[in-house]
């Protein structure tokens, strides 16, 4: 018994691994393309070159100015020396090579997250490195929008199942007729929530991450963050609510008219079992694809929602970088976003490969 089960297991694992590595390669190619597009766009106005040159100039000037060995040299001679060194360094780093070569060089820098220094912005810990600024803000975005997407996912699933069971009921009709409300994006509902709960009723904060000054002990800190997260989370939940439930309901309804479901009903299986085994199970892969898409959508939507709620994540950083015209940060953010979206797709592919029997049995997906 065991002997026969084991090879099947390894074979399945092998298939999953092959599928995942194929996906990983294609996702990685996408990230490379996105980064390359970013660099081409940014450098059409010569911005990346400027960033690199400014960096070299600053570093070498600092080096010479702070070196006691050069203290005695007259200013103009020192300037000349510095200029010479800068030109040498530009040549050494290849900034005077043709564009194609340079762009490949920048691509490598981008992919290895070697994103350079910000022009004006600093991270909360005081670092000028773009990488630090962005990585410091990343967790807040992931925290807020993963939570929102997952809450939405379960509400829509449960609501859709419930309505497909009670199809035609009053509640069903209400949800169907309210579905058009979901064309308005989360940030738009956010403005109204701020208007009602912050500006009018004064019971929730306008925005931000925690109270000022931040509470000392972790529990009240957590509660404070929770209080600030209520409005942004609700705005996304309200925005997605009706259309999410409506789509799932229609989806389940279509599946529940399949012949095998009718057969199961005829066999007299309990409705719950039919729901779990005959409706939910086969619809799981497309539902998970939907989850992947909404997660990707949520990272993108974060830019505006965070701006509206002043939530210090990647989105607000994008807005601030735009205000300061801090080019290295804007370029860095696009690269990080490409990675974030790519990784999301990969993680969901992993889940997909577990739930989709076609992947396990090696059939074309």
């Amino acid at each position: 018994m065991f002997d026969s089960a084991l090879p099947v297991m390894t074979k399945t694992a092998q298939r999953i691994i092959i599928y995942l590595s194929k996906r990983a390669i294609s996702v990685f190619i996408t990230i490379v393309i996105a980064t390359y597009i970013t660099i081409i766009i940014a450098n059409m106005g010569g911005y990346v070159d400027e960033i690199k040159k400014a960096e070299i100039t600053e570093r070498i000037t600092q080096q010479y100015m702070n070196n006691p060995a050069y203290k005695g040299i007259p200013r103009d001679q020192l300037q000349k020396l510095i200029q010479q060194q800068i030109e040498l360094e530009i040549h050494r780093t290849g900034l005077d090579r043709p564009f194609l070569e340079r762009s490949i060089m920048y691509l490598w820098d981008g992919l290895t997250l070697n994103l350079g220094r910000a022009l004006y912005m600093t991270s909360d810990s005081g670092s000028r490195l773009v990488k630090n600024i962005i990585l410091e803000r990343l967790p807040q975005t992931v925290l807020l929008f993963t939570t929102a997407t997952i809450i939405n996912f379960f509400i829509h699933l449960a609501g859709g199942l419930y309505l497909s069971r009670n199809y035609g009921s009053k509640l069903d009709k209400i949800v169907v007729s309210l579905a058009p409300l979901s064309t308005m994006p989360g940030w738009f509902y956010g403005i109204f929530l701020i208007l009602i709960f912050a500006a009018w009723l004064h019971i929730l904060p306008y925005g931000g991450l925690v109270d000022y000054p931040p509470p000392e002990d972790p529990i009240s800190y957590f509660l404070s963050v929770l209080k600030h997260a209520i409005l942004p989370l609700s705005s996304w939940i309200i925005s997605g609510l009706f259309v999410g439930i409506y789509t799932n309901r229609t989806f389940f309804l279509i599946f529940s008219t399949e012949d095998y479901v009718e057969a199961a009903k005829a066999k007299g299986l309990p409705p719950r079992l039919i729901e779990r085994r005959y409706i939910l199970r086969p619809t799981l892969p497309p539902i998970i694809t939907g989850l992947a898409l909404s997660l990707i959508g949520s990272w993108q939507g974060a830019i505006i929602t965070e701006t509206v709620f002043n939530w210090p994540g990647l989105g607000l950083t994008t807005y601030q970088a735009l205000q300061y015209f801090d080019v290295p940060v804007i370029v860095g953010l696009t690269v990080i976003y490409a990675y974030l979206l790519g990784l999301t797709v990969l993680v969901l592919d992993l889940v997909y490969s577990i739930v989709d029997p076609r992947v396990r049995s090696g059939l074309p997906v």
Partner: protein, 460 residues
């Protein structure tokens, strides 16, 4: 002929849905507003008005509420802006006599009736004359009380006296008030003191107010005063922080939003359709390439790249539209149109076309695309609001068209000026209301169309 009958049939069926009817009425309303806006702001007039700077609107109040706001303040009439100048009623100038050095002594009175329930938002006096002219300004209440305001000496031919911002005057008036009635129960601003009764509670003194000016001028013909008592409400939509009437952007934003949303959604859907059908019909390597590109497009950070492009190249709205279209044409719509193309490819009439020697392109464009197009109409209509909101979102980030007044621009100004903190709700509500109308109108029509075109949904 056959097709027009089909379209007519769909339209007739559409009218049977109450929701679609509401949607169509809203759409008509938006179209009427668009036509009206284009008619009253022809060419670039809206842009000129919107970007004219403060001088053009100097006689409008700042951040004034729309006039319909009075619905929320029952029994109260909110002040409108009152302007008294040589061309209006209530302006009287008399030249008293000539002085030894050839100058003149004049007496000026600018009187107006004030019947509102709140004090005005600000008071400005614009003076014209010759450099060296001297004036003394007095304020006369309806009850006859007269107080001295200030002395003015012209150094140029025209001077603006911002009465509300005169700190010295404010202090003096406050002190006088304390002396007469003790500590008042309201915080005494210049406007409240100048328009209130002499009591500890604030109440507007209604009746005829007068600004009296006694002056010594070189040339009375050149002398003119212009008193502006700024109201708290303005027009149908109120004004913003730069005194611009919001109705310009609210009205003119309508045709822009409709044009932007419709162009984006129609072009993207049609291009996706063409690509999807080509992919499905030809198959092979071309199909594989198109499918890979679609997968790549799914992961590319769309919004970031739009931001990147518009921040580096300062695009106008229509170039931005082009970029959004280019970045969207390999979207998820391709998958469904490709699937449909795969089915239609096998239908007998396509076989027949092949048999009589129709070229591949003829089959794609004349036989397949028109067959799939009607099924796309609901999704085209449904995706319009998404693009209207995309424009608003980009404006909110400060990346929209640098000149055009749009709803997103108004929202963005309101956000950056802290409209919600300051309680200026109308500033946020007006553009939002228009966005909601647009979005609801298109979705109601789109949902109904969806049921007509996809009969499987009809019974659900």
């Amino acid at each position: 002929m056959n097709r027009s009958r089909v379209t007519g049939g769909i339209f007739k069926e559409l009218l049977q849905y109450k929701s679609a009817l509401v949607g169509l009425v809203l759409l008509m309303f938006l179209l009427i507003i668009s036509t009206y806006a284009i008619f009253i702001y022809p060419g670039s007039k809206a842009v000129v008005y919107w970007r004219a700077g403060e001088n053009m609107w100097i006689k409008n109040p700042k951040n004034a509420l729309p006039e319909w706001w009075e619905l929320f303040t029952p029994g109260k009439t909110l002040p409108r802006t009152i302007e008294i100048n040589p061309n209006t009623k209530g302006y009287a100038m008399e030249t008293l006599k000539t002085t030894n050095d050839g100058g003149y002594l004049i007496n000026l009175s600018l009187s107006f009736n004030y019947e509102y329930d709140e004090e005005p938002s600000a008071i400005n006096v614009f003076v014209n004359g010759t450099p060296g002219d001297n004036f003394a300004l007095f304020w006369v209440y309806p009850d006859g009380r007269k107080i001295f305001l200030t002395n003015l000496t012209l150094t140029t031919e025209s001077t603006n006296y911002y009465l509300s911002q005169d700190i010295a005057l404010n202090t003096r008036l406050e002190m006088d008030l304390y002396k007469q009635i003790g500590k008042p129960e309201y915080s005494p601003t210049i406007e409240k003191i100048l328009f209130g009764t002499l009591s500890r509670e604030f109440k507007v003194q209604k009746g005829m107010f007068k600004l009296l000016v006694q002056g010594y001028v070189k040339d009375p013909k050149k002398t003119s005063f212009d008193l502006v008592v700024y109201g708290k409400v303005y027009g149908i939509a109120g004004t913003d922080h730069l005194r611009r009437p919001l109705e310009i952007a609210i009205l003119y934003g309508t045709p822009i939003a409709l044009a932007f949303g419709l162009t984006a959604s129609v072009l993207i859907s049609v291009i996706e359709l063409v690509i999807g059908v080509i992919s499905g019909y030809f198959g092979g390597a071309l199909d594989t390439i198109i499918q890979r590109i679609t997968e790549i497009y799914m992961i590319i950070p769309f919004l970031n790249i739009v931001i990147l492009i518009s921040v580096f190249y300062k695009l106008d709205l229509w170039t931005l539209l082009g970029i959004i279209i280019i970045l969207s044409i390999f979207g998820s719509g391709i998958k469904s149109t490709r699937a449909m193309a795969l089915q239609i490819k096998e239908l007998p009439y396509v076989e027949a076309a092949k048999a009589y020697g129709a070229s591949d392109w003829r089959i794609v464009f004349i036989y397949m695309i028109p067959k799939i197009l009607p099924t796309l109409v609901p999704s085209i209509v449904l995706s319009v609001p998404g693009f209207v909101f995309l424009e608003a979102a980009l404006s909110l980030l400060g990346l929209g068209d640098p000149l055009l007044p749009t709803w997103g621009k108004v929202l963005s100004d309101a956000e950056s000026q802290g409209a919600l903190y300051k309680g200026l709700y109308y500033w946020v509500l007006e553009p939002s209301f228009m966005l909601i109308l647009t979005s609801i109108s298109f979705t109601l029509i789109g949902f109904a169309l969806d049921r007509i075109v996809n009969p499987r949904l009809k019974e659900m």
